[in-house]
């Protein structure tokens, strides 16, 4: 099962990269078809493991992250009919899923067994927000490349392979909304779990909690700037990329 799933993601990832790098459109149906098949299988497998047991091990969480990224890409594709984001999303999902299945317990199976609905909810929402932030990073990167293409006044073939600035900025905006909402909810559930377990909302080691608060603050600031000061385009894109790298660091510290 896992082998079929990984094969589907690999086939789709290769198709997406090929389409993105050549600017052709003839194979889109295969890339999306393989992705849908893999995604259906993936959904089934994750559903079964969540329903039947307490999710355990890093592998499952990486797999969940891959699932979230594909889900969001499929939504974006359905909305814009553009495969450029897939050039980032599908290979990332393939790598995550491949890693998850190759080393299911590599960081110690069961070491982070998640029990209780609060913690389960915290983890699932965190996955959703991290998937969103990855796509936010990808859309920001594409925005900067596309903007550079246009600025240069001698655009290369990438001009036509990447979506328009307007679409990329719109993506940035919408993904930020979702990512921030999920992150907020995830942090709330996490602190409620801490309260139920340790009797205090912020009883955990400050080294583990503060980076997350900072990341929440950073994405929150970006959102506020977009809403009140109409931050758009390049400024927002650069901020999204910096925030993503900071968030990766924070995640490492958190665990």
């Amino acid at each position: 099962m896992v082998a079929i799933l990984i094969a589907c993601y690999l086939a789709s990832a290769l198709t997406h990269l090929y389409l993105l790098c050549t600017g052709r459109s003839a194979g889109v149906v295969y890339g999306i078809g393989a992705l849908l098949a893999g995604f259906a299988l993936h959904t089934l497998m994750l559903g079964v493991s969540f329903a039947t047991s307490a999710p355990e091990g890093w592998g499952l969480w990486l797999s969940g992250m891959a699932w979230v990224i594909i889900l969001m890409y499929l939504i974006v594709y359905a909305r814009y009919r553009d495969i450029a984001l897939g050039g980032f999303a599908v290979p990332a999902a393939f790598i995550l899923e491949g890693y998850a299945s190759a080393f299911p317990g590599v960081w110690g199976a069961g070491s982070i067994a998640v029990q209780g609905y609060l913690l389960k909810g915290h983890a699932v929402l965190a996955l959703l927000s991290w998937g969103a932030f990855f796509l936010l990073f990808a859309s920001a990167l594409m925005y900067l490349v596309q903007s550079q293409q246009l600025k240069s006044r001698r655009p290369s073939a990438w001009l036509h392979r990447l979506p328009s600035l307007d679409i990329l900025d719109d993506l940035n905006h919408k993904i930020l909304y979702f990512g921030f909402a999920f992150l907020t909810a995830s942090l709330l559930l996490g602190s409620m779990w801490a309260k139920s377990r340790h009797g205090a909302y912020w009883s955990l080691d400050p080294v583990r909690t503060w980076p997350l608060i900072l990341i929440w603050g950073a994405y929150g600031l970006l959102l506020v700037c977009r809403l009140t000061r109409s931050w758009k385009g390049k400024r927002s894109a650069v901020f999204s990329m910096v925030a993503f790298f900071a968030a990766l660091l924070a995640l490492v510290v958190h665990f």
Partner: protein, 436 residues
């Protein structure tokens, strides 16, 4: 039956001659009727566009066909024999197939990849087919050509990037704004180039247009033509705030939009990008404007070099396309040849079988004492004789066709046996089984 094509194109013939050979689209079927009066052209089609005039025909006799097309041009068009021979190119069979595939795929066009030619070829075929001038041979050839053209469009990005200044501007605008619907266009100046660019943007969805000109009357006149509004030239700063796309084409000496003006407009636009198209010479917009974060400025040189790059890009893509095309030509010709071989075998077998029957009947009538058994034996014997006689030549021919050996053509075999594959005594009645 073989395919022949004769014509002129932009490659080797100046417009002054092409226009004299041109056939107006409206009465094409009348021209085809006239062409049909010339002996030797079994099927006929005329492709007449501003870049080429070509006659396609299926003929039995190549020389007779070519002569007919020659006379048709001389007698129906205003051209002398010498001038015609100097420009007319003639292709037959493989070359004709390759040429048509190349034309239909837009690889022979003046602007490689331009989309109109396929439609023009389709229309020419439609007229010829509807008026009964295109039969099986041309239908086979043209429907294959349409499929090849479609395949090349699907498998290569040929024709995707624009190659004229106006269409490059529209393309860039789409790369910035996505859809142009609802975007505000500000046209500065009432020049022709500016009007053309504005029309192009409008046709692509940017329907909100304002004109500013030093002479108000000209601005109003242009605005009414383009169905847009007028803004005062003295309030450019204000108009700039609302404009997503600015086309500058005034005759002003010196810059009318400099960096501070655009910067202050951008500030009020709150990071919404602006696309400035400066097609005026001398330039209207200071080049430093492009340094502003959300301003994208292209002058006439920039647009022209993008167009030239795109054209070069198309030529590179055309190389890939030609490889696909070559493959298709070979497949098509191989299939045609196999088909023809099959028809020839069937005709020879039909010819041999009817001769055998005739001889058997003669023999039977001369030998009245021959019983039913004897007759059957005679039948079997003559059948075996025919099969054995044909077996070896058929096997050799098939092998030669497979290996593409020059020397014995299907025509020479047909002549040798005195058979015509598509004669009235059709091979359909004959056994198409191969000799054992």
């Amino acid at each position: 039956m073989s395919i022949i094509l004769a014509g002129v194109s932009h490659h080797n013939t100046p417009l002054s001659i092409r226009e004299r050979l041109y056939f107006p689209e409206g009465d094409m079927s009348d021209w085809l009727d006239r062409l049909a009066d010339y002996r030797g052209l079994e099927e006929r089609l005329i492709l007449s566009t501003c870049n080429r005039v070509e006659v396609y025909s299926a003929v039995e006799d190549y020389d007779q066909g070519l002569d007919a097309i020659h006379r048709f041009f001389l007698e129906s068009r205003d051209i002398g024999a010498e001038e015609l021979s100097a420009h007319l190119y003639v292709h037959r069979e493989d070359e004709a197939t390759r040429h048509l595939f190349t034309v239909a795929s837009s690889l022979d066009s003046m602007v490689v990849g331009e989309p109109q030619i396929l439609g023009q070829v389709k229309e020419a075929y439609r007229v010829a087919q509807a008026s009964g001038h295109a039969g099986k041979a041309l239908t086979n050839l043209f429907s294959r050509a349409f499929r090849v053209a479609k395949k090349i469009r699907e498998q290569t990005p040929i024709g995707e990037s624009p190659v004229s200044v106006s269409s490059v501007a529209v393309d860039l605008a789409k790369r910035i704004f996505g859809s142009l619907a609802g975007k505000n266009v500000l046209l500065l100046g009432a020049g022709e180039m500016g009007e053309a660019a504005a029309r192009h943007l409008k046709a692509s969805g940017a329907d909100n247009l304002h004109v500013a000109n030093r002479t108000l009357a000209r601005a109003q006149e242009l605005a009414s033509r383009l169905k847009g509004g007028v803004v005062s030239f003295d309030n450019l700063e204000g108009a700039l705030i609302d404009a997503d796309i600015v086309i500058a084409s005034t005759a002003a000496q010196g810059f009318i939009l400099d960096k501070p003006i655009v910067a202050s407009a951008l500030e009020q636009r709150r990071d919404a990008p602006v696309f400035l198209i400066d097609i005026a010479v001398p330039r209207n917009v200071a080049p430093e404007v492009n340094d502003l974060e959300d301003a994208y400025l292209y002058d006439v040189d920039d647009l022209q070099s993008v167009a030239a790059d795109n054209l070069r890009g198309r030529e590179e893509v055309a190389r890939d396309a030609r490889a696909i095309l070559e493959n298709e030509v070979e497949t098509y010709l191989a299939r045609q040849q196999a088909e023809e071989l099959r028809h020839t075998f069937a005709a020879i077998r039909f010819f041999a079988e009817s001769m055998r029957r005739e001889e058997v009947e003669k023999t039977v009538s001369r030998l009245p004492g021959l019983g039913e058994d004897g007759r059957e034996t005679l039948d079997a014997m003559t059948k075996a004789l025919v099969n054995k006689l044909l077996h070896h030549p058929f096997a050799v021919l098939r092998r030669m066709a497979e290996e593409d050996v020059e020397g014995i053509s299907v025509e020479s075999v047909q002549k040798l046996f005195g058979v015509e594959p598509e004669s009235d005594a059709g091979p359909s009645e004959a056994s198409t089984e191969e000799p054992d």
